[in-house]
Symmetry: C2
Subunit: 289 residues, 2 copies
């Protein structure tokens, strides 16, 4: 394992520990489903982005923990709802039964519905200025809305109507890219980066978000469930438009690597140590799960 992978592992461990504490424990079905859906060994990409962004200003990881956790709560809520029978109808997530399979559909919908406001509540309690809290909430709420994650998701479930790369890019930019960019933006606000650095980093986030998504499509084809934690070929079975289905597997790999390279180029003019963000761009397109 490389030094960089060890760093990622340490950030995963820290956000997992924080999530364990921040998620309610009252033994009700609802909070059990919330905990089940979040504490399941996810990749924690959005928290990692928040921590790596904070490194640019030498901000202590501890100061980022609540924000990092909130970003992951939003992501996990979106996964619960995406997996529902009315949406992607998935049975496996990260190698375990999806929330509606483990509990039931109503509980899954409500667990998602409760994770979302918990994220906003937590951000409202971070020890920083009110100005920063309002800006973070504004950024995150927009990323979650009809022009962001939810707007992208409705295009995704109708993705068999998508026939060109531009439309597929735009769907993924909304569905995945906006929350990734908001992860960077909110972390930049909290750690005091300049607006111009935040803008560059958001552009970087747009590139790695797309690269991440293309790599996900590649993994769906190439990795068995034992590695990816999802049903292999599940996109194909659902008649979804993916990068490989539009341009082929090889061209998809080329595109993912180009996006990763573009992302690294955007980092260069930033007058901070962005080495770890550059390594993350490489890591995203080399992962197998």
């Amino acid at each position: 394992m490389s030094e960089f992978e060890k760093l990622l592992g340490s950030y995963q461990a820290r956000v997992n520990q924080k999530l364990e504490v921040l998620l309610p424990h009252d033994d009700s079905i609802l909070t059990s489903a919330m905990r089940y859906s979040v504490l399941n060994g996810g990749k924690r990409l959005r928290p990692i982005l928040a921590y790596l962004t904070a490194e640019l200003n030498d901000t202590e990881a501890e100061y980022m923990d609540t924000l990092a956790s909130s970003l992951e709560l939003i992501h996990c809520y979106s996964l619960i709802h995406d997996d529902l029978p009315a949406m992607d109808d998935d049975e496996l997530r990260r190698g375990n039964p999806t929330t509606h399979k483990k509990f039931d559909e109503a509980t899954a919908i409500l667990a998602g519905d409760a994770l979302q406001p918990l994220a906003f509540e937590l951000i409202s309690t971070i020890k920083t200025t009110d100005r920063n809290k309002v800006q973070m909430i504004n950024s995150l709420s927009k990323a979650c809305g009809y022009l962001g994650m939810v707007g992208g998701q409705i295009k995704d479930i109708n993705s068999n109507q998508i026939k060109d790369v531009e439309s597929l890019d735009s769907m993924h930019s909304e569905k995945t890219g906006r929350l990734i960019q908001a992860s960077i933006e909110t972390a930049g606000i909290l750690s005091g980066l300049s607006p111009s650095d935040i803008d560059s980093l958001k552009e970087y986030g747009g590139k790695i978000g797309l690269a991440f998504q293309i790599q996900d499509d590649i993994i769906d084809i190439e990795s068995p469930a034992s590695v990816s934690g999802k049903d292999q070929g599940s996109d194909i079975g659902k008649d979804k438009t993916t990068y490989p289905s539009l341009v082929g597997l090889e061209a998809s790999k080329v595109r993912a690597h180009e996006l990763s390279k573009d992302a690294k180029k955007i980092l260069q003019p930033i007058n901070k140590n962005t080495d770890n963000l550059a390594m993350l761009a490489d890591y995203i397109v080399s992962r197998k799960a």
Copy 2:
């Protein structure tokens, strides 16, 4: 129509006008479903509470419009999800097909998912201090979460297990009462009421919230769909525990009126003109729809 009913009508009209402007119009399925679910002639109780609370400090209604709209967006999102097949499986809402009947289940889930963050986004843009925005978001996010609206909803769908009035009260306090209290609290914050007045008003809100719910149960039995906009007797058909099913129709009416009286008593020590809030307490238990 009484002067008070005219006042309620004027507040309904103003929040409807504001919602019309604040909701996105991009002709996509998602935003069409969002608009359909919100712009349907609801009672607008939560916005009305915000306006009536602001009257105590002679705050202009215009200053409250965005907050009032945000509260209604949260309420409408919760209704969309409550009506889903996995929850109450309702086909009619306010006399029209429910969102999942008019569109489909995925679109209904996502319309709710997009309305919730829009509420937080809008509050983050209100022209007031950052301190006020953070406090309003904190209040509202808690009311929406696992200890509030969503916590109450999961108890409601399992309400056939509720066998006593205390548990039924507690379910409704979470499901309906918390958002009603947050409507008053956020409006109190925005209009600059004192913390002690806000506390009294929240107690008032707890009482009228329960009274409202009991009256809803009574309407479900006594009013045909043409008046209530819902299927008559729909609670009975779903084997839900209601006040009438626990204590009988007459005792339910007595309880609703007692709660309304208690609510008015709480208003008396407040050194402001609370006449309209008192009239609302009466109105809530006299309505037929």
